[in-house]
Amino acid sequence: MSKGLPETRTDAAMSELVPEPRPKPAVPMKPVGINPNLLGYIGIDTIIEQMRKKTMKTGFDFNIMVVGQSGLGKSTLVNTLFKSQVSRKASSWNREEKIPKTVEIKAIGHVIEEGGVKMKLTVIDTPGFGDQINNERCWEPIEKYINEQYEKFLKEEVNIARKKRIPDTRVHCCLYFISPTGHSLRPLDLEFMKHLSKVVNIIPVIAKADTMTLEEKSEFKQRVRKELEVNGIEFYPQKEFDEDLEDKTENDKIRQESMPFAVVGSDKEYQVNGKRVLGRKTPWGIIEVENLNHCEFALLRDFVIRTHLQDLKEVTHNIHYETYRAKRLNDNGGLPPGEGLLGTVLPPVPATPCPTAE
């Protein structure tokens, strides 16, 4: 992982599999031509433009997982985030659907295009989580799934004849939905986050925030933050991965003030003050989803999509995946696993999830 200074971008760019620079807010691109007034201008900075063009052509993958008890509005929120019906809601009043007896993992992929950029979005749903009477170890199927994706990627990487572009099915982000009790976290929430914060980026989210008044909301958030800290749970953005001061201050602000985001989701539009907004219409008023006075959906959306999308992928690749890879290689005696490499065959994936690194 590179800890280089922002100026020496060349080092960073060449050693990464994924382009490194953090996307800044829209800035008009410099014309690619040579500025005759600037002597000694090489034109290295045009690589950003080249990368941008490349990305636009190839598109990129993003895999987001949603975890939480049924009825917390997970599918609605994902649909609101990406402004399309990417997740089939369980509240489709389908009579035959029952609460699953074990946690199931359902991955649904969509291709979304915006401004010429194509994104292959995969939403991974986990129905049945936390819904049973006995929820002990209900996070194990989820951990297993995440490790399986790492395993898949590892296999592809270790292949002699590698694909040009390895399909990335690793989970980049996991939104964990906290029930808005107003008291504190549930034991199940703690257990899940303890086990999985070392394996995947977890972003805790307070669901159905329209059930709490402003004071209740801020009190609840404070209590949740404190509990997470006391229990040593590092949610994304993790403190230890802040690369420089700029990152640190930005992330600190988010960590200490905004997170966990208290959100409300909706896919219905209403007319408010002459504008059409996404919201929920109640007898006592209309809750505007994108209004920062009402809920923090806009903050979550900006955070996940507009500012930290690339970082989520990077942390997944550079840290979580590397941890998994190191463990696997160690188990294999330091030799890279894979078929056809000096006759060694990839050792079987352990039936129980890999113990997470301490």
């Binding site: 002990e136 808005p180 008291h183 504190s184 034991p187 159905k208 402003l214 006592w284």
Partner: protein
């Protein structure tokens, strides 16, 4: 009534003036008037003096607004000193049963309200049998009442049986009942009146509430859960009442919102919750069903809840509660035979002996009066203070009405002599 009037009066009637006729009719009515129509008033006055008691249980996962709702219903804060546990403390917590009792008085009517709370229910990671402490508690109360009823001193029996259980169904988008909800309701539906509620209804829009209620009703039927049914109203009630009753039945399960704060809305101070997008008024029927719940629970159905608890749930129990007491198979029939159950009496301790003696002394005059109808000597002995006790008739003895009385100098008996 008129046919009972004396024949002479009837003959005389047409000759009297209308005014006298009216007076005469009133007097007739007076003659026919027995006067037991005032019985409800007498009962009312006695009950008001005695006061009522009501035990309400609230159950559901933590954080669903149970305490707030209780506060809103009865306008008393029972949870001032409550300490909320953190998640880690809750990992090792088991389900507790907490009782809070409060005496409320309104317009001279006293209500002793007991709220039974179940903190820790449904909170753990493994919630298997988390309703067991609750069923144990309910059974205990029934058993206690049974013992009290069969006991010696029945003057001041405390009725601690749970009359109603408000079960809070947790936030759900689809109305599917969770396994914990189903488990709890099935464990308790034959023992307590269960009234399911949709909690925190301010996160739902009206369309969702409607669908949710339908779905929950379907699920309740599907799982065969017997929730409290509102009794049918008599056909001779007025249309207004019938309409109210219909609305009540159609709004079950109630979607409620509770609040212990008062906010200013449209110039009025109301109980509600203040949001950036509007104010939710708890007592506004268009906002939630709180008013319906309150009316049902307190103003119209409280007595019915108590009745159903006594007549239906309690009656089902003694067989289940005392399977080992073969001698005390208290079925409906045997009750007729032995009004005083022949309990296998263990050797009484000092306390019980004292109670037995007190009771004996109390009952003595009555027993004497009864015995002296057959044996006048008993009355004579009693007045001479020579009578210590009168024994009750032995039901199992071969000779009917064998009385025996013991007194200090010598015994007087009808059948067997005991000198």
């Amino acid at each position: 009534m008129d046919s009972l009037a004396a024949p002479q009066d009837r003959l005389v009637e047409p000759l009297l003036s209308p005014r006298t006729q009216a007076q005469r009719r009133l007097k007739d009515v007076d003659k026919q008037y027995v006067g037991f129509a005032t019985l409800p008033n007498q009962v009312h006055r006695k009950s008001v003096k005695k006061g009522f008691d009501f035990t309400l249980m609230v159950a559901g996962e933590s954080g669903l607004g149970k305490s707030t709702l209780v506060h809103s219903l009865f306008l008393t804060d029972l949870y001032k000193e409550r300490k909320l546990l953190s998640a880690e403390e809750r990992i090792s917590q088991t389900v507790e049963i907490l009782k809070h009792t409060v005496d409320i008085e309104e317009k001279g009517v006293k209500l002793k309200l007991t709220i039974v709370d179940t903190p820790g229910f449904g909170d753990a990671v493994n919630n298997s049998e988390c309703w067991k402490p609750v069923t144990d508690y309910v059974d205990q109360q029934f058993e206690q009442y049974f013992r009290d009823e069969s006991g010696l001193n029945r003057k001041n029996i405390q009725d601690n049986r749970v009359h109603c259980c408000l079960y809070f169904i947790s936030l759900s988008g689809t109305g599917r009942l969770r396994p914990v909800d189903v488990g709890f309701m099935k464990a308790l539906h034959e023992k307590v009146n269960i009234v399911p509620l949709i909690a925190k209804a301010d996160c739902l829009v009206p369309g969702e509430i409607r669908k949710l209620k339908e779905r929950i009703r379907e699920e309740i039927d599907k799982f065969g859960i017997h929730v409290y049914q509102f009794p049918e109203c008599d056909s001779d009630e007025d249309e207004d009442f019938k309409q109210q009753d219909r609305e009540l039945k159609e709004s079950a399960p109630f979607a409620v919102i509770g609040s212990n704060t008062v906010v200013e809305a449209k110039g009025q101070r109301v109980r509600g919750r203040l949001y950036p997008w509007g104010i939710v008024e708890v007592e506004n029927q268009a906002h939630c069903d709180f008013v319906k719940l309150r009316n049902m629970l307190i103003r119209t159905h409280m007595h019915d809840l108590k009745d159903v608890t006594c007549d239906v749930h309690y009656e089902k129990l003694p067989r289940a509660v005392h399977p080992a007491d073969d001698q005390v198979k208290l079925t409906q029939d045997s009750r007729m035979e032995s009004p005083i159950p022949i309990l296998p009496l263990p050797t009484p301790d000092a306390e019980t002996e004292k109670l037995i003696r007190m009771k004996d002394e109390e009952l003595l005059p009555r027993r004497v009066a009864l015995a002296s109808t057959t044996y006048p000597e008993v009355q004579f002995l009693y007045e001479a203070k020579a009578l210590r006790t009168v024994l009750s008739p032995q039901v199992s003895s071969p000779e009917p009405n064998t009385w025996s009385a013991a007194s200090s100098p010598c015994g007087v008996s009808g059948g067997a002599t005991n000198c």
